[in-house]
Subunit: 385 residues, 2 copies
């Protein structure tokens, strides 16, 4: 039930979100973008400026008649969040200012002997300390995790590729950082999907499926403009949909998960490369395919086949307008897209496969981190003054 | 962006929705249920009464001290919608008053020779004419369809079990009824899922998966309290997720859809009953199983196995809190639930399978029709005055 100041709050949010997502604008442009009156925009900009979330800069006349309108921008210097990422191959962090300005960022490859919870928390704290030198007042901390995150509790319920189960990462990280700033965890695929809709390949699209993966296969869903997270935050685990129940055992304990038939591991296996050769191995397969090597080409055709089997089902369940291929799938996109498009109608209904676009990610490896920053900005954007 | 009267509109909606979903209430109860002040409630109830959506009835004192508070109820007599359903085995219709009061209802079994679009539209118009005698002013018309409905266009894009493709059912029905009342179409599974969350087995639950089916296998998803419809309205086609790519050909043209391994047809096949014996055949299988017939028991075990394979994947994608078994699946629920629960962790992640409840539908066959009525009430509930 609405309170009496809800209109004002709604308008404050609308203007700040505009500036955050779509960049600086004059007051006149804000009138056009939001449909609010000139006097409302003036009042709201004034209130946001007093709250320290926006700044107005003197306008430079563009030569057109009339008094130039000052430019309003999100104050990226005073409103900063810390975004962190726990992937399998690396950890990463960034300081991001309101408006999406990256002040500093770092990414560190890591070895299997640093997978323990203790090592990971220590490495994240070191990374954060470097980013926060000199110190910055933080508005929030968002963390993307390569695993299932129980959202309300900030607990990593399961991260099969890290060997983690029920890890209270939010609390551990809070203690290690010692900053007293709210921390919010989420699955990396869910965050990457949101990031692509806000600032990437799915900009402005309301129904999007992101398929991503390096070692494992993950994903994220935006439906009707909202992140699909499910009852506890575990939705979007599309890598663990059974597509071949008579097939191979999956790391998760099940059999024939989509992850056993597509992704880095399956492509290396089919191309007869070393299973532990990782991204370099994949680059080798793609280079060989470009040179016409038949084993590599056959492996990519098989990859496209199993992409079609699983994706057809996901299109029938979710009916996205756009599918974004991130990570490993973004890199192989040009090699599989023709076969995939040809085979997709065999596995999905015409209604859900015909209209869908399948494009590579625009944000690439940065998607989860950008999504983590957006997650950390949510409280500020939700209550701007 | 909010307009200046948005608070008033929000409060009108909140009160009317309370009365519609949760039944008559005194003003004092409405204060408790909504958190609005007594004077706000009085003003809103007055405005709703003038608009003709609620009525206030003299209170009968319950013996407690103080002046008895009049009872406010949705005016089910003056606010009526027509709900229609196009299933495979039958068509159905109901006149439903605000508050969910069914004034009249009818359901007609139909034969395969009445599957043509022309016959179906004529039969629906006849059914509606009987329900609307004597005439009633309608607030809207909602139609549940056993097929993929392109929501914005009111077009049935595909109904494999009716043999329909790209049928502009909304327009055809509008012409046949000749009432000039807005018509809204949606998929029967999507509507049944919403109905179960509003008035059924999933009452008040925000993340729900409905699995339903008679001839085909359908479903509906409510996520975060909203119906998951996808970009065009085709989401929730869980019967056409590939679970056995080396398996049987599906009616939809694909191979190994979940619908080929679970549902009426597969159970009859495995229990060695006639494939066209329909609901009576299923009743026979269940009776035989209750008597300990080994073929029937084995068929139900196989059904539970394939339910687990497909459902495990859907739990990983959608992470519902509750799964509702409707139609055929509601009837077999007591016969398969133990095997299904035992096998589910083999196919779904522990995080998504452990906490989920799987219950039979409370609304049964009426779910889609109740959902269609709710769809027809949406404009009135969204703009009550």
């Amino acid at each position: 039930v609405a309170r009496s100041d809800s209109v004002r709050q709604t308008n404050l949010r609308a203007i700040l979100r505009q500036l955050h997502l779509h960049g600086p604008a004059s007051r006149s442009e804000l009138v056009l973008r939001t449909g609010l009156t000139r006097s409302s925009v003036a009042a709201i900009v004034g209130e946001l400026a007093r709250a320290g979330t926006v700044i107005e800069e003197p306008a430079i006349s563009d030569g057109s008649p009339g008094r130039p309108s000052p430019v309003v921008r999100a104050d990226a210097g005073r409103n900063v969040v810390l975004a962190l990422e726990v992937a399998v191959d690396f950890i990463a962090g960034a300081l991001v200012g309101l408006g999406g300005v990256t002040h500093a960022a770092d990414r560190i490859d890591r070895r299997r002997d640093r997978f323990s919870v203790e090592s990971t928390v220590a490495d994240l704290a070191d990374l954060a300390a470097r980013l926060l030198d000199p110190p910055v007042d933080l508005a929030g901390i968002g963390v993307a995790v390569a695993g299932l995150v129980k959202r309300p509790d900030n607990v990593v319920a399961l991260a099969p590729n890290l060997g983690w189960c029920d890890v209270p990462l939010g609390a551990l990280l809070g203690d290690a950082l010692g900053l007293g700033i709210p921390i919010q965890l989420a699955n990396e695929g869910d965050l990457a999907a949101v990031a692509e809709t806000l600032r990437g390949a799915a900009n402005g699209v309301d129904d999007v499926l992101l398929l991503s993966g390096e070692v494992g296969v993950g994903g994220g869903v935006v439906s009707g403009g909202r992140s699909l997270i499910g009852s506890a935050g575990f939705a979007g685990e599309i890598g663990h949909v059974t597509v071949n129940p008579g097939g191979r055992r999956c790391r998760c304990g099940s059999t024939g998960c989509w992850e056993t038939e597509v992704g880095e591991g399956s492509l290396l296996r089919r191309a007869k490369r070393r299973s532990d050769s990782g991204r370099r191995g994949i680059d080798g397969v793609l280079a060989a395919a470009a040179d016409g090597e038949s084993v590599a080409l056959a492996a990519l055709r098989d990859e496209a086949h199993w992409l079609a089997v699983g994706l057809g089902g996901m299109l029938n369940v979710l009916n996205p307008q756009l599918v974004v291929f991130g990570g490993f799938f973004g890199r192989i996109h040009p090699f599989v897209i023709d076969d995939l498009r040809r085979e997709l109608p065999r596995w999905g209904l015409a209604a859900t496969t015909a209209g869908v676009d399948i494009v590579p990610s625009a944000l690439g490896l940065d998607g989860p981190l950008i999504g983590a920053a957006e997650l950390a900005f949510e409280p500020l954007l939700g209550h701007p003054a």
